[in-house]
Every structure is written in structure tokens, then in C-alpha cells.
Amino acid sequence: MLSWLERQIPKIILAPTFAAVTVFVYGFIAWTAWISLTKSRLLPNYDFAGLIQYRRLFDNPRWDMAMGNLMVFGLLFILLSMVLGLWLAILLDQQIRAEGLIRTIYLYPMALSMIVTGTAWKWMLNPGLGLESLVQRWGFDGFRFDWLVDPDRAIYAIVIAAVWQASGFVMALFLAGLRSVDGEIIKAAQVDGIPDWRIYASIILPSMAPVFMSAFIVLAHLAIKSFDLVVAMTGGGPGYATDLPATYMYAMAFSRGDLGQAASSAMVMMMVIFAIVVPYLYSELRAKHD
């Protein structure tokens, strides 16, 4: 027989986390929600002012740009990282010599902060300094690669660097997934003479649905929080063509002393996150319960 106290141990263990999350996540969201309804400037001010900040937000062309960029960036980033990560994982799963070395090379970008690697990317993608001028010096005069300085394409240049950073990690997730697939099934299929690509397509990948889910969540989390990358590579430019909600929010809160405006943008961002994450959490928890 367990005593009452002993039965409460799991709750006691979780209590500090519960308290921390209540205050530091939900309390702070509530605080932000309130601030978004005020005219706070430099520092928080708690006088209610209605929805004026949201009106200002939706009236600002820069915010439209930031949200549009998040859609383009998020979609491409998640998609390309998944595809590349999966492809690399499959390649690496072919009994490669020096697998450890290659894996480390693919994985290391995740270890470095973008404050650091952003500058290198900025140089490489700048047509005057980097790849374009290099290839032209090799004699290919017609070579153009000027996305970073083109307001309509700069966001794609950011996607390249972001994919570079995260795809190795996704590769690791998928590689791990591939390795946890039951070997007996694969052997049986091979004995039956089914070609490799079909084994992947109809046996292995479908069994990795949870891995796709994990990868999606990690990538979505990175996409939404993308900030350093933009700051280091373009500073939001050319113009504000590569602004993202996170950089918008930061600019409003900290360089412009427009806290209320920043809070309203944070709330809109949070709603977007909510719309993406909650269905996932729901399905995740239900699946586990069955």
C-alpha cells in the first residue's frame, strides 16, 4: 500500500514545473496580451487603450511584409530542410565509409550560432564579394547569383542559409528513424526481390510518420523563432524586404520604444503558433493515450 504522500509524489515532482510554466509562459503571455491593449512606449504602462495597437499593426505595410515573409520562409524552410534531410539520411544509410565524419560535417552548422555564420553567408551570397564574383572570375561571365541584394528574392537567400543550418539536424532525426525500422521486414522484402526505392517508399517511410512529425515541430519552432539569421545576414533589408515577425517585434520593442505595438505583434504571432501547434499537440497526446 502506498501512503497518501507517496501517491502525491508525481504531482509534487511536477509542481515546480507547473508553477514555472504558469508564471513564465502563460503569465507572461497574459502580460503581453494586456500590454498590447495599452499605449505603452518605452516601458510598460498599464492604462487600457483598446485595440489601437492592432489597428496600427494591420495598417503598417511593414507588418504585412513580415507576415508574408514568414509564410514564404516557413514553408520553404520546412519543406526544403525535410527533403534535404531525408535525402541525406537515405544516402548516409547505404553503409558509407567514414559515415561518422560526413555526419559530423552535415550536423555542425546546428552547433554554431547564426550571429557567427550569418556574416560568412552574407559575404558568400553578396554578388560583389562572394560566389558570383568567384564564378565570374573563373570565366563564366554570365553567371548571376544576386538573390541577397534583390528585394524580391532576398528572402530565398535567407532560406538557403537557414536550410544549411537545420537540415543536418533533420538528417540526424531521419537517420535515427531509418535505423529504428525493424530490420527483419526489410530483409524479408529484399529477399522477395523488391527494389530498394520501393522498400523505402512503401515500407520504411510510412513507418517513420512520428519522425516526420518531430522534424516538423523542431523546424516550425526554428522558423517561428528565426531572428539572428535575418539580423546577421540582411538586417531585414534590402529596405525591409526580409523582415520577419520576430525582427519586427524586436525593432518595435527595443529600438523604437513602441512596446504596445510590439506586444500586439507578439500576440498575433502567438495566435499563429497556437493554430499550428495545438492540432499537433492534440493528435500527439491522443495517439499516445490509445
Binding site: 518605452l42 553578396n126 532576398a154 531585414g236 533589408g237 534590402p238 529596405g239 523604437r256 520604444g257
Partner: protein, 414 residues
């Protein structure tokens, strides 16, 4: 004290000054972290130490102080503000309105700041009639730098009007030289923009448009003409300018790839560091038009109660405006002293020109705060304008549309 006790228990590793010694203390938040600038601040620390003070350095670089401002907010909200903070222009007033600045009028009176500082600049240092900040230097923003050799080869002088500049630029393009070295970052676009506003509209227009935010001036034909000139300037810039750091643009002028750069006088430091001589290798002149756009760095004094920190604050304020620091600091930084009674003998010709122009402009109301460097407007309004300016410069937006967006953006930022 409670704070110190807790910290002493919790954080053995922290080196912060908790010991309640009798020496004046100062924790200084600033964003001067690179070689030359850092050495310039170190001079202040040495003078402070010579007066028995203990200086705690809190440097945070990045984005012209954005990161430092983030840190400052966190510090103020946590009830633990630094003693002195590098703040400038209207931001000082904004912080004052939050009720967190200290009054250093005693020091100002004792040191006679009222007399030695130009009127326009001392106005920034006062909060509701009392002094709350100490000015460090005057950067001139409306400078035009040029490669002397390139200009001579193409038979071009320093332009005195924007028409002359445009004509010279056409000549340079024909000669295969980029006329204007420019880095496409919002603040650099804004820097060029404000010099064009000053050059085309004149000092009165500048004041109305960028300081008073006068709707009529902002929507005027003059403003359209300013954006027209910005569009022309865009044609004088090479295609790879977006995101380029200003110092790489300076390097383009230095090695003759480009002829001109419009940038504040910190650009001089790059030329000098590369061993170039003003007047011989590179030329400096104000951008076309009258007036003088200043960017004054200053330290705002935060309310730290009475005690060692307060004592340190007063000594610091006195030293910052003192003639000896003004001279050594500005020699190292490339700017000019704020006080008019410092000898300029040791300064280079560009700095001397800057000081002469400042005195002249001070007399005829042409001494104007730079909008691009946060001297003229509060953050929200300055940011709204610079959003439009940078969006216009980096797209094919028409001047009329830019003027219209300008009006909307400012209304939205209020």
C-alpha cells in the same frame, strides 16, 4: 544591501561591486567596443580612476545601440539601473518621462555648462529644466568623403549643389567608376536621405519636416523633389549595395572603386587607420547645402539614489564635459568636442572645418539634430520615416507614393 547579500550567497562567481567601500562607483553602459572607440572611453575610465573612482564597464555593441537599449530596459525593469548610460537625443527625454533619470544640475552649475555648450546641444541634456545628461562629442553627419585622385583624374571638384553632384556622377559613370559608395542598411539610407532633405529643402524645411513633423512640409513638392533626388542617387550606387557595412563602402572610396561616400565623420577613422591623409588622399566637405547635422553622443545619468554611485555619477559628469577628456576622446574618435573653448590645434583639417561650421551654424540656427541617428525624433517616428525611406530606396516606388506613405506612416506611429 539586500540585493548584495542575496547575490553574495547565490553568485560567488560574479565580480560585481558589492563591497560597500567608500570609493565612488560607476557602472557605465555603452556600445563603444571596437579598438579606437574603446580606447577613447578608456581615457575616461583612467581619469575617473585618478579621482579615486571605481569603474565597472558594461559594454553592449550592436545596431547602433539597439542591443544596449534592450539590456537597459531589462536593467531598469529589474530595479537595477546602471549609473551612466550612453543615450542620445530625444531618448533621454523619453527615459526622463519614465521617471528614472537623476538630476546633475549641481555639477552643471559648478562647471558652467550653460556657458561652454552650444544652446542646441545643451537643450538635449536637460530634462524639465534640470540637467540629466552629459554630452561627450559632436559627430557631424552631413559629410561627403571623396577619393582625391579619382576626382582629379576626372576633373571634378567637391560639388556645391546636388545638380553639380549629379553632373559629376554622370561623368564618373562614363569613366566606369561607381559615383557613390553606399551601404544599403536602413540607417545608411536614412543618413543619405537627411542630407538630401537639408540640401534641397534648406535648414528651415529640415526643421519643419524632420523635427516638427509638420504635415504640410512632409507632403510638399519639396519632399517629392527630395525623393526624386534619392531615386537619382540610387542610380549612382552599384548593384551590390544592400546589406553592405558602411566601412566596406568607405573602403571602396579608399581604393578608387567609388568616388564619393556620404557618411558621418566616423568614416574618417577608416581612412586614417589605412594611413590616408586628409586633403591629399581623401577629401572631406559638407554635403551640398547649408546647415550642420549633429549626432551628439552623451551619457544619461540614471537615478541610483545617494551614496557611492551618486558620488561616482557626479565625478563622471564633471569629467565627461571637462576640457581634457573632450580633447583626448575626440582626437581618438574622429568627432569634435562639444565645448567651444577646447583648442583644436591637434585635430586634423576635417575636424577643424567641422568645428568652424558648427560655430557658424550655431549662430544662424543651422545647427540641426540628425534624424537618421536618433537625435531629432523619438524612436517610433524616426523608425516610421526610415521604413518609408528605405522601402523607397530599395524598390521602384514613385516619389509621390513615398510622400503619401510618409504621411500615413507618421500618423500611424503617433
Amino acid at each position: 544591501m539586500r540585493y548584495c547579500a542575496i547575490r553574495a550567497v547565490m553568485a560567488a562567481a560574479v565580480l560585481a561591486p558589492c563591497a560597500a567601500g567608500a570609493e565612488p562607483q560607476a557602472e557605465v553602459l555603452h556600445w563603444w567596443t571596437s579598438g579606437g572607440e574603446a580606447k577613447a572611453v578608456a581615457v575616461l575610465q583612467q581619469e575617473f580612476a585618478a579621482r579615486g573612482g571605481s569603474w565597472t564597464d558594461m559594454p553592449v555593441a550592436g545596431g547602433g545601440g539597439d542591443a544596449a537599449m534592450t539590456a537597459l530596459r531589462a536593467r531598469v525593469l529589474s530595479g537595477n539601473p546602471p549609473t551612466a548610460v550612453q543615450l542620445k537625443g530625444p531618448a533621454i527625454q523619453e527615459w526622463y518621462e519614465e521617471g528614472v533619470l537623476a538630476d546633475i544640475s549641481d555639477v552643471a552649475a559648478a562647471q558652467n555648462w550653460e556657458q561652454v555648450l552650444p544652446q542646441a546641444i545643451s537643450a538635449h541634456m536637460k530634462c524639465g529644466g534640470t540637467w540629466c545628461a552629459a554630452p561627450v562629442n559632436v559627430h557631424r553627419v552631413d559629410w561627403m568623403w571623396a577619393n582625391a585622385e579619382v576626382l582629379a583624374q576626372n576633373g571634378i571638384g567637391m560639388p556645391a549643389s546636388w545638380e553639380e553632384f549629379n553632373a559629376a556622377a554622370e561623368k564618373l559613370i562614363a569613366a566606369g567608376i561607381t559615383p557613390l559608395a553606399h551601404g544599403g542598411q536602413a540607417w545608411q539610407d536614412a543618413t543619405v536621405f537627411e542630407t538630401v532633405v537639408l540640401g534641397i529643402g534648406g535648414t528651415e524645411f529640415y526643421r519643419k519636416a524632420l523635427i516638427d513633423l509638420d504635415e504640410e512640409a512632409l507632403g510638399s513638392d519639396t519632399m517629392t523633389a527630395v525623393f526624386d533626388q534619392m531615386r537619382i542617387l540610387r542610380g549612382f550606387v552599384d548593384d551590390n549595395f544592400p546589406g553592405r557595412d558602411w566601412n566596406l563602402a568607405t573602403a571602396m572610396v579608399m581604393n578608387g572603386e567609388a568616388a564619393f561616400q556620404i557618411m558621418g565623420d566616423w568614416a574618417k577613422g577608416e581612412f586614417l587607420a589605412a594611413g590616408k591623409v586628409p586633403g591629399e588622399d581623401f577629401l572631406c566637405a559638407s554635403t551640398p547645402g547649408d546647415g550642420f547635422l549633429y549626432n551628439v553622443d552623451s551619457f544619461a545619468m540614471f537615478d541610483v539614489g545617494a551614496g557611492d554611485a551618486r558620488e561616482g555619477q557626479e565625478i563622471l559628469a564633471e569629467l565627461i564635459v571637462g576640457p581634457s577628456f573632450q580633447e583626448t576622446f575626440n582626437l581618438a574618435k574622429g568627432s569634435i568636442p562639444v565645448r567651444s573653448d577646447v583648442s583644436l590645434d591637434g585635430f586634423d583639417s576635417c575636424a577643424q572645418l567641422s568645428a568652424r561650421d558648427m560655430n557658424a551654424a550655431s549662430d544662424d540656427a543651422g545647427l540641426l539634430p540628425s534624424f537618421a541617428h536618433g537625435m531629432a525624433l523619438r524612436g517610433a517616428q524616426a523608425g516610421a520615416i526610415s521604413d518609408v525611406v528605405t522601402a523607397h530606396f530599395n524598390s521602384d516606388m514613385s516619389s509621390e507614393e513615398a510622400v503619401e506613405q510618409l504621411g500615413r506612416a507618421i500618423a500611424n506611429s503617433m
